[in-house]
């Protein structure tokens, strides 16, 4: 994976989080109805999740990141 992929994935995560956060705030203030908030989250959450996985998996070097969670 290249460094460019990691940067793009990071941007996508940020975009998804900002979209969900903005929709949450706008719905909280009553500026958008619930269904618009839900639609934004339904559209933004899945790519943000996958982009997050891509972001922390993609490395600028040659090697993979070992999983040491056990």
């Amino acid at each position: 994976m290249s460094g460019r992929l990691k940067r793009n994935a990071g941007k996508l995560v940020a975009a998804g989080v900002i979209a969900c956060g903005t929709a949450f705030a706008l719905h909280g203030y009553g500026w958008i109805p619930l269904w618009v908030f839900a639609a934004v989250v339904v559209l933004a959450f899945p790519p943000a999740v996958l982009a997050l996985f891509l972001w922390w998996m993609a490395d600028v070097g040659e090697e993979d990141i070992p999983f040491i969670g056990y």
């Binding site: 994976m1 956060g21 839900a38 989250v41 996958l50 997050l52 990141i65």
Partner: protein, 282 residues
């Protein structure tokens, strides 16, 4: 609601871990730790990922987004007390998602898994009949109205027990290692998800966690009624243990037998629905 979405996904994965643990203990194995499915999702998300040469790239990656997206929508419907029909529409969409997972990979194992997901659509017919019975009783298919009905008149689990049994069968058909889990049978390696590895499998795990939470939450809302948060958590754990017992004590059926038994159950629930319609609440 976004925090709840993330917590629901993690709790759903934890429930799947409890499911595996209980099955293992019934079979006298130590089994994995209960947080194994969370570790699985994390592990896959760290793995190097690519799209196989035989796969349809757009479908292979896009179907993971669809899988998470539809269950995110179902989560919103459940949390806001929306229509039960929407949740069950999404449940049926998941069948198309499984099909898409299998067919997009180009692997014969994945394709067979995808085809089996279509023939296992028989598991959804008891669902329709169960929903009809609920509508007879409550005169509404909004989850909020169904909960309000049960608050006034008691749980539908008692008054419409056969419908609850049919819904339990629907849950069972979506559980891993169950008698109806023909889409991911071992002779197909991992069935429709065989070729989805790395972050794609991690995305599928997120979908599975969310799906488990939504389906168990829907069962509790529709058949038990209003519950506090601790009661919902306990209820979901009890349900997953019951499902694990069912999975551990029954062998996986052949595709033909799976469809036959689900069709027979549909017939029984249909008879029950006719009795409810004509005798109980004419």
């Amino acid at each position: 609601m976004i925090t709840e979405l993330v917590l629901a996904t993690l709790f759903g994965l934890l429930l799947l871990g409890i499911h595996r643990k209980v099955i293992a203990r019934i079979q006298r194995r130590p089994g994995p730790p209960v947080w194994q499915e969370i570790l699985h999702a994390a592990k896959f998300s760290f793995k190097t990922s690519w799209v196989p040469a035989t796969a349809s790239g757009a479908l292979f990656t896009g179907i993971v987004l669809v899988a998470i997206g539809i269950w995110t929508a179902a989560f919103f419907v459940l949390m806001t007390g929306g229509s039960l029909l929407v949740i069950f529409g999404i449940y049926m969409l998941h069948k198309i998602v499984e099909h898409g997972f299998g067919l997009s990979s180009g692997s014969p194992y994945g394709k067979y898994g995808g085809v089996r997901s279509v023939i296992s659509a028989a598991s959804e017919i008891p669902l329709f009949v169960g929903v009809a019975v609920i509508a007879f009783y409550t005169h509404s298919l909004d989850i909020s109205a169904i909960i309000a009905y049960q608050e006034a008149r008691g749980p539908l689990l008692l008054t419409a027990f056969p419908a609850a049994t049919a819904m339990f069968l629907v849950l069972l058909s979506k559980m891993p290692f169950g008698p109806f889990s023909i889409v991911e049978a071992k002779e197909l390696v991992s069935g429709y998800k065989t070729e989805h590895f790395g972050i794609w499998r991690a995305g599928l795990e997120v979908c599975n966690g969310l799906k488990t939470f939504v389906l168990l939450g829907t069962f509790l809302a529709v058949f038990i009624g209003p519950l506090t948060l601790p009661a919902i958590i306990v209820g979901m754990i009890v349900l997953i243990v019951l499902l694990a017992f069912s999975c551990a004590l029954t062998p996986m059926l052949s595709p033909f037998d799976s469809v036959t038994i689900q069709t027979m159950v549909t017939g029984l629930v249909l008879v029950y629905a006719v009795i409810v319609l004509t005798v109980v609440r004419p």
